[in-house]
Every structure is written in C-alpha cells, then in structure tokens.
Symmetry: C2
Subunit: 494 residues, 2 copies
C-alpha cells in the first residue's frame, strides 16, 4: 500500500472524510449500473467514467478492490406501473432477455471505447431473484414490510419512526413525503402510505418476466436488487456506494432503508454521487432535442457538434470537470479538450527523447517534484482530476521547454527526469485511463502509399534507380507490394 | 424467406434430414456455451465458430433466429466432487463470481476476435437457479427423481425402463451403464444406481456457491442448467440443439432425459454435434504438451507454430473442414490457410475494378451461375463450408483471369458480373463471417514514414525541391508532420 491522505466527499454526512476501509488493504465498491432496455446515455457514461477513475486510483494506491456494478435487466417501474424491460420488449418485438442482451452488449462496447475497466463483478438483477426474495423475507421478519394481495411493500413510515434513518441520505423530510400526493406506483390502493414502496410485485397476466415467490408469481421491486447484490458480493457493510446524483432519491434512500430493514446496518460507509452532464448549459432532454448519444458525439452525426470527437477526447473532456460538479458539454469545450489531449500526448511522446546527465538537485528538479506531489494531493482530495490535469500541463510546459532547448537539459537531473517520466505515465494512462490515439491508420497507410507510388514514379522517370530500389526494398520489408497496371499502380499487402 | 433445400445431419436419428422449423420462419437454437473457470480452449472456439456459421446461414435464409448460448458459471462437478468454479476461485483467491467475470470477459474478447456474432441470449447458470429448482420439482412430481439427504438424483434406470429413451442420442446401452463401476459423483452411496445423476446437490460447508431450495441449501447439478434455460427461452421444444461431440454423453443424453422427465417431450428436433480439433494429428492434451491456446496461436508464442496467425486466417482454416469432421491444426495447414485467405481477399478487392459491357449470356456466364448455385447447394448440404470455399476458389480463378486480361472482360455479361460480386460478398462476409484484415497498420504507418523521411532526405540532398515540396504537401493533407531534430527526424500526427 502507498501512503496516502485520500479524503472523499461523503453524501451521507455531507462532508469530506478521511478514506479508511473496513478491512485494511481491501476496498469494496458498489456502483449502480445501467438499465439495459435502451442505449446507454452519455450522462451515464460520465458517471461510469468517474467511478472508473476512482477504481483506478484505489487500485493504484494498492487496495485490492472489488468493484461491483450491476446490470438492471428487470424491475424498473414506469409511471404506468409497467416494467420498463417488458415495455422495451414489446416495442422491439423481442423477448425481454433478447432486449437485455442487445443493450448489454452495446453498453459494454461503449465502455470499451471509453477505456473504462470492467468491474470485478457485473451481477444481473434477473440472476439474483432468490437473493432478493430472501431479503424480502428478512425485512418482513423484522416488521418493516407488509404483504398486500401478493405484493410486499416496505413500510417506510414505520421504518422512519422507529429508526429515524429515513431521509438522511437524500435530505428528504418524512413529513414532506407523507404529504406528497403524487404516487407513481401501480396498485397504490394496496399501500398504507404513499411513501411506501414495493419490494415484491405480483405480476399481472401480461407481465412476462416473472418468478415464483412465497407471496405470488411476480418480480422484485426495482430498489431491491442493489441491496441484495451489494450484500451478496460485498457483505452487509462495505466501503463505497456510488451512482448518479439522480439516484439519491428515491433509489439510494430506499436501498439504505432496505439494508437497515433487513440487516440492521448501514450498507456503505461512503456514498459518492456524480453530478449531471449538461449540454450547452442545460439539462439534456430528449423532448427538447437537447441531447446527444455517445455514438452521435463520436461520429459527429448531430447538429450539436461541428464534428466527431474521439473517445479519448470525450473522456479527457469529462475528466476536466470534477465528478461532483456539473460538466457542460459544448462544441467549443470539446474542441479545447481535443487540443489539450493532443498537447498532452505530444508531450508524452517527446518524453522518451529527453536525456540528462546532471546529478545534483536544481531549482527545476524541485519544481518538478512539487508539481507531481501536487497532482497526487489533488487526486487524494476527492479524486480531483481537473486540478491534477492542470498540474500535468505545468509538466507539459517544462517538457516542451526542455525539448525545444529553451531550458537546458543540464538543468534537470537524471532522477528528476525519471520521476517526471514515471509520474506522467502513471497519471495519464493508469489513473486517468487515457490511451494514445493516432487517428485512422487505415487512411494514413493508403495516403502514404499513394505518395510513395508517386515518388517511385518520379524516381523512375529520372532514372534514379538507387531511390527506386530503396523504395522496393523498404516496401518488401513491410510486406507491401506495388502492382503496376494499365490504369496506374495499386498496392497490396503480401 | 429464401427458397432452400437445407438438410442437416441429426445426431439423434443418425441421418441427414430436411430442415423444417416448428414455427415457419422462426428458428430456435441452443448451443452449450463455455464453463468460465478457465480460458476458453481453441477446440471450443471451433465449436462456436461452427455454430456461428449455422446462425449466419439460417439468418441469411430469412429465419428469425433466436440463438441461445449459455455461460456455465456454476455446477460442473469435478472428480473429487468439487464444483469447478469454486476450485478456480480458491486457486485465484477470488470470489467465484469474480472468476466468472474474468473468464466471461476473456471469452467474449476471443469470440470478437474470431468475428463470431453474439448469441441473442446468453443466460448464466447462476442466474437461473429458480428455473432449475422448478424443473427438479417437475421431475420429482413425475416420479423420475428421488431425494436423498438433501440432494436430488435423476432415476436413470426407472426413466430408461419406463420410456425406453435413455441412450438414444449417445447410443449407450443402459445395461452397459449399469455395469459401469466408475462413478465420478460425490455421495455415490446416496445413489440407487451408478447411472443416476444429481440434479440438485446439497452443499457441504466449504461450498461457497449455494442457494436455498426445498431440499437443502445447495446448487443444481451440471446437466440441469441447459434443460432449464433452453426451456425458458426457446420453449419445451425447439429446433436445433448444438454442442461439441464430447458433450453427447453424458451431458446431452442427460439433458434429453431431464426434459422428457419434466415436460414429457424431446427438447430439440435436430441435434448437431461438432467434431474435435486435433493438433498434428492427435487429440489436444495439456498433459502431453500437445495443446495451444487461442492467444498462443494468434501471437505465435508456442513451439507448435512457426509464427502467429491472424484471427481471420484461423477462422478460415477452421472453415476449411466440415464441422462434423475432425480439424487437424498443423503449421503447414495454417500457412496454406493464410495463403488461401489472402488470395480470396485479393480477389475480393479486385472485383470492384472489373467492368463489362456484354449483355447476352455467354459460356462464362453460365459457368459463373453454376459455380454460385453449387456453393448454395453446399451450404444447404449440412453447412458444408469446405466445399463452398472450394467453389469460391473457382470464382477466384475466373476473377483473376478477367483481371489479368487472360479472359476478355467482354466474355462476362453485366448481369453475371453483378451476380458474381454479390455472391462473393455474401458468402465471404455474411455467411463465412470473414473480415478484411490488412495486418498491423500501426507498424505499416511507421515503416512507411521512415521510408518517406529517407526519400525526403535524398530529395533535399539532391536539391530536388519539387519532390521535397510534394512530400510536405501530401503529408500535410494526411495531417502528418515531420520534425527535424539533432538526432534525425521524427514524425507525428498533427
């Protein structure tokens, strides 16, 4: 384990706290994953990229991290009480699990494009029905739920009164909840109070996703899966629970209630929430047309961007905001991020060519050390990537100045240069999770070959045989062959 | 739907049969997937590539195909009675589901490399414990299983005597089974007969993968998951059940018994089995060192191959054997496959440049039509890819002869050329699932740039400014910049 002073902002206590895990050296993290009835939203991508940074940084610090991110393939209740997965299935004329498979594959592909590490375990809600039924039983046994017509509801009011815990995470006051008239759940007449929520739902005849249970043929309530799966894979108590801000209420509040109701313990010590991804200063919204999908952003196939941006540019752009701040996607900001990303990669590439012979400490050495230490301090300060990236650009300035000879290479010591190279590498690739992206090589190869074919033609016209031979030999080594035809020359790989 | 005369070899009836689906226009196919406690074997890759061809061909014929391929993440019994997943978990010091996640991701990656289409549904055994418990209940209710100390065993002898169905698929005779003394199962004393097999196992204390059931805290027997999941996603009866030959007994035989025992119906109309992948004429075997992994084959990091072969060369190599024949992997055969694959791709690339003006039918037109029809007939004949590939090479000869002017382009009609292009495209890409593979572009780009940097140096030395300018301008267009330094020139993307 590396020495560190990691502090994280805990949504539960509303303050930054020193990060200490339940079991020294091990960190358990649960993040609410996607609902796979639709393509993943770019806002979700931001959340998952944020937790990817947290996962990478904890690993870098030396923790053995078990990162659990679920796949919700059942259980989301719509306003009309329909399960979202079933609705998607009917629209696409597919079985629910075909829909889930399609969008799970799509989600994984987008996550790979953005170079996020896969979680250690990716449990599916439908794969943990037994665990959810067992949890319902426990909550019933503890008196915090009641059955009505084959469905089981969490008794929010009783839980709130007896424990005083309801509303702590989200800051909702139970009296407000009681007075709320809006009730999204089906069979609301079955509920004793509007604030109660289903933990098991009896399936109507049309409902195709259904399992037997002690109460009815039905399906679990949406909030339950995360309580059941985090408990199964991380234990009743674990270190970090994460998700988007929008999940704080009711999802996370109800998760806490379920875990307390079943196991009498707060599930997570630290609750981390990511802020919203905006577009042009406003909330993304399909109905307003103010939205862009990951692929639209990558291909430029949207009126909101002037062109497509590469996955690493998008990732870099997102990391330039702190995960707890809103992140405003604009074409200008993306253009700036593209320049910044390229500048960073240029500096990285030129690092290898820098050498030094100086052995004693110089002013520059100290400056380099202090900037690097600053970057670690930034990461320790609730994973502050934008500040750490700003430090990287201070290093870029130094690297460029050394490279261009504006600062003599004698001014930096071997040790300092080594430290600079190591830190630059670790922060860019291991922690920020960026990759070298060289654009489309296919196009480049063909473009370069067209140029070489022309140069070969010039050499032949000039009877410059040594040059023509050099071209032939070099291409042979690259296993590329030029074929001359009536309409000009073409090339192929051998 | 296209007209077709597809016949498939049915392992159950031991003959080729006309392929007719239960529901016209729809085809349901279940294929036994990998056990994710280890890296996928190359032999398994052959099986999945074979069923990928079948999936692609059925789709091409116009069927709406539901292709279900499971992930076995629990339930394989080892000789010592330990669950394989749990064993892997202890060795790696990981939770079973972390092991499953790691190898599932690895499996998906290999499948992507080989360009296999993902199945429509990829159900996990651990995600269908309830369905398996329900099936155990049905088999018990029908009198074909018995409980002993919390475990439930399939009563093979009773089932065999009452139905006469046991052994039909594998050709095993029940008397032989009765006399077999070897018994791999734990708690064999609980079994009434050695041929009986567990459908539910009581978990010992050490067993970490466990679920509650009416009989014990335990886990399902290995054979059960495929019966339960095929029934759930394809119905009690469906069209095709596939898998490797080695699964015929006991796995598939027991699957049939379970389905008949629970639902009183044969699950699949057509049973398709792939034959073995050999290496140098012998069965692959780790203990003999006669084995190679997918990555070893792709990278060449093995004494069994002279170099690495690209995923498409390996795929092409495998398709050159019929799925019911053994496939003998040797370095010579791979080299030949590489040449063949490249020859095919060359012909494909040159197709676009062929033109024709002739409008009446010629001898060549008829020949082209007849070869193409032959390829479809081959595919209709139990998916005979090696014969279809041989037809493609007949077309390659024609294409090359047209391209090189040995056969006048006037001899082929517009229609025939169109037919040739379409069929070539569909067979190579849609049905055989090959991709254009141009080798490593990264290396090529750098190699070409080194050559261009040299040519630029020569032009400058010769004061050949027009050539130097042409190089500069062409590279500018490609957004490539050469930077001159003290130690020579380097290049970067702009």
């Amino acid at each position: 384990m590396r020495d560190h002073n990691l502090t994280v902002y805990n949504s539960l206590t509303r303050q930054k706290e020193k990060f200490e895990t339940l079991h020294p050296g091990f960190a358990g993290m649960y993040v609410c994953g996607p609902t796979v009835y639709n393509d993943v939203h770019l806002g979700n991508c931001r959340t998952f990229i944020s937790f990817d940074i947290i996962y990478r940084y904890l690993k870098f610090l030396g923790y053995t991290v078990r990162y659990v991110r679920n796949i919700t393939d059942v259980g989301h209740l719509l306003d009309d009480g329909e399960d979202r997965m079933s609705k998607g299935a009917r629209l696409d004329n597919l079985e629910p699990m075909e829909v889930a498979q399609k969008y799970t594959l799509g989600f994984h592909q987008v996550m790979r494009l953005f170079n996020t590490l896969p979680p250690s375990i990716e449990p599916r809600a439908t794969g943990h029905i037994i665990e959810q039924i067992e949890m319902v039983k426990k909550i019933l046994d503890n008196g915090f739920a009641y059955e009505a017509n084959g469905s089981v509801y969490f008794d929010t009011i009783k839980f709130a009164k007896e424990t005083g815990e309801y509303g702590k995470l989200s800051g909702r006051v139970i009296e407000e909840l009681l007075s709320e008239t809006r009730d999204n759940l089906k069979n609301q007449d079955e509920k004793r109070n509007p604030a109660d929520f289903a933990i098991w739902m009896k399936a109507s005849d049309e409902h195709i996703m259904r399992w037997p249970s002690p109460w009815s043929i039905g399906f679990p309530g949406w909030h339950l899966e995360c309580s059941a799966m985090s408990t199964k894979y991380l234990g009743e108590q674990f270190d970090i629970h994460g998700g988007g801000n929008d999940l704080k209420f009711p999802h996370h509040e109800n998760e806490v209630a379920q875990n307390l109701g079943a196991c009498n313990v707060h599930p997570a010590r630290y609750w981390l929430h990511t802020n919203m991804l905006l577009m042009n200063g406003k909330k993304m919204s399909k109905s307003d047309g103010n939205t862009i999908s990951p692929y639209e952003l990558l291909t430029g196939n949207s009126s909101h961007v002037s062109k497509g941006y590469s996955p690493m540019v998008v990732r870099f752009f997102m990391l330039q905001s702190h995960y707890r701040s809103t992140n405003d996607l604009t074409d200008d900001a993306l253009q700036a991020a593209e320049k910044g990303y390229k500048r960073l990669m240029e500096a990285y590439k030129s690092l290898d060519s820098l050498t030094s012979n100086q052995t004693i400490n110089s002013e520059l050495d100290e400056k380099v050390s202090s900037i690097i230490q600053g970057a670690w301090d930034d990461m320790d300060d609730d994973f502050n990537t934008p500040r750490a990236i700003a430090r990287l650009f201070e290093l870029v300035t130094i690297i460029n100045s050394l490279k261009e000879g504006q600062t003599s290479l004698d001014k930096i010591s071997q040790n300092s240069l080594k430290e600079l190279k190591e830190a630059f590498n670790i922060i860019i690739f291991d922690i920020l999770g960026l990759k070298v992206e060289d654009g489309s090589n296919d196009e480049s190869v063909d473009g370069l070959m067209q140029l070489i074919i022309e140069l070969r033609q010039i050499a032949r016209s000039n009877k410059d045989w040594p040059t023509a031979d050099k071209i032939r030999d070099s291409l042979n080594e690259l296993k590329i062959q030029i074929k001359d035809g009536k309409d000009g020359s073409t090339w192929t790989y051998l």
